[in-house]
Subunit: 203 residues, 2 copies
């Protein structure tokens, strides 16, 4: 298995290469990668050589080829279907976000406990009753659940998803969620970016 | 200046130390840090020794002391006031998110173009007309703007904020935003977490 920090860096390179493609750039060298994301040129070269990818001296790396290679390493070439639990503000913003397609994640089911929301559609997907999470996730064979419920409901929502066969939990709530040994939970905190910014402001 | 990858790691350590405090843990060693976030024990020790922080052999690092020290390095000990532009689903979810206080970021002004939203309150803050961004940000002396508008509006919102004296832009939109030399923009993408997850699922 590739260690998590390496995967996070690869995901960053994938994003930068995608942006370069949009701008019509065909080659990038490690110094340009460093300028874009702050990961050192040496670290970038080391990460890629680990996967047998070498740049051409004086030219750098071919953007399209490298992006496709990273997509394969990250298994982004396969569609990952997932359930979103909590169709509130953040849940709906995530359901409608075009960036999910870049990472081949496909929203398949949406759940909520709020009777006023059940039956409505977001991005073409109907909001279902959270009571049905275990049965519906098993029926749809969904292995991934994204939690966008209030912190106080996070453990309950995670337990229901795991009962339905989920093995991977992406937790957006501030609560600490415990999962069985054979499952994995990733906390998503975008406030860390604020910390990076806070440092820069004072310098 | 501390390089961005180091800052991102420090922000991760800060989060983990905060979670340890909540659990009543007083000491943590580098191996436990690695187990929590995947950053290698060696990298953790290297980062901290760079700031003169050494663990005690056999005991590790004192959680409360280390967290306070990292808060100082990251300048989290000072309140950073900011404006949020785009009071839609993501903007409102962010405005209401308790995690912002952990990083001493204080929402000071909220802007939108939608006449139906202007005048309403989120988390006690009134949504103001986006036409007033340059004047109001200057009046409030706000240097940070967070963009949660549609991608097509991102550049316009950023330009208005910079006209009002902003120098730091946190961009949640999928659009690429250009800022003048003396400003900084950070793109926030939490879909990168999906990439890390995608890799694990297939292994
Ligand atoms: N990771 C971050 O940096 C970040 C940023 C913003 C918000 N958040 C978090 O995201 C979560 C959602 O925030 P929001 O602003 O969208 O809140 P919200 O109140 O708008 O939405 C929560 C939704 O969850 C539903 N719900 C409650 N209990 C449920 C259950 N057991 N099963 C299914 N649905 C349930 C509610 O009916 C509601 O629709 C919160 O935990 C918030 O703290 C995280
Ligand atoms: N970074 C990520 O991973 C991520 C995840 C989800 C959504 N997003 C992005 O966040 C943004 C907001 O998403 P959302 O679901 O909240 O959309 P939304 O449509 O619910 O909200 C957008 C808001 O911006 C307002 N607006 C439009 N033009 C404006 C302008 N010039 N000035 C001020 N306000 C303006 C609209 O009136 C609306 O209230 C989108 O760009 C979306 O792609 C990013």
């Amino acid at each position: 298995r590739v260690p998590i920090p390496t995967l996070t860096r690869l995901a960053t390179y994938y994003k930068i290469l995608g942006e370069a493609q949009v701008r019509g750039v065909h080659n990038l060298n490690s110094a340009q990668i460093e300028a874009e994301c702050g990961i050192s040129a040496a670290q970038f070269r080391k990460d890629l050589s680990h996967f047998g990818e070498m740049g051409k001296p004086g030219v750098g790396y071919e953007v399209a080829k490298l992006r496709a290679r990273i997509a394969t390493i990250l298994h982004l070439d396969r569609t990952q279907r997932f359930a979103l639990i909590g169709a509130g503000r953040l849940g709906q913003a995530l359901a409608a976000y075009p960036g999910l397609n870049d990472y081949s994640f496909e929203l398949t089911a949406l759940f909520d406990t709020d009777k006023k929301k059940i039956g409505r559609r977001v991005n073409g997907i109907e909001i279902e009753d959270a009571d049905g999470i275990p049965n519906r996730m098993r029926e749809l064979n969904l292995k991934i659940a994204v939690l966008t419920v209030p912190g106080s409901e996070a453990q309950k929502a995670s337990d229901a998803a795991i009962k339905g066969g989920a093995r991977w939990i992406l937790n957006f709530t501030p609560a600490h969620v415990r999962v069985p040994e054979n499952c994995m939970v990733r906390d998503i905190v975008f406030t860390q970016e604020f910390a990076v910014l806070a440092h820069y402001i004072e310098e």
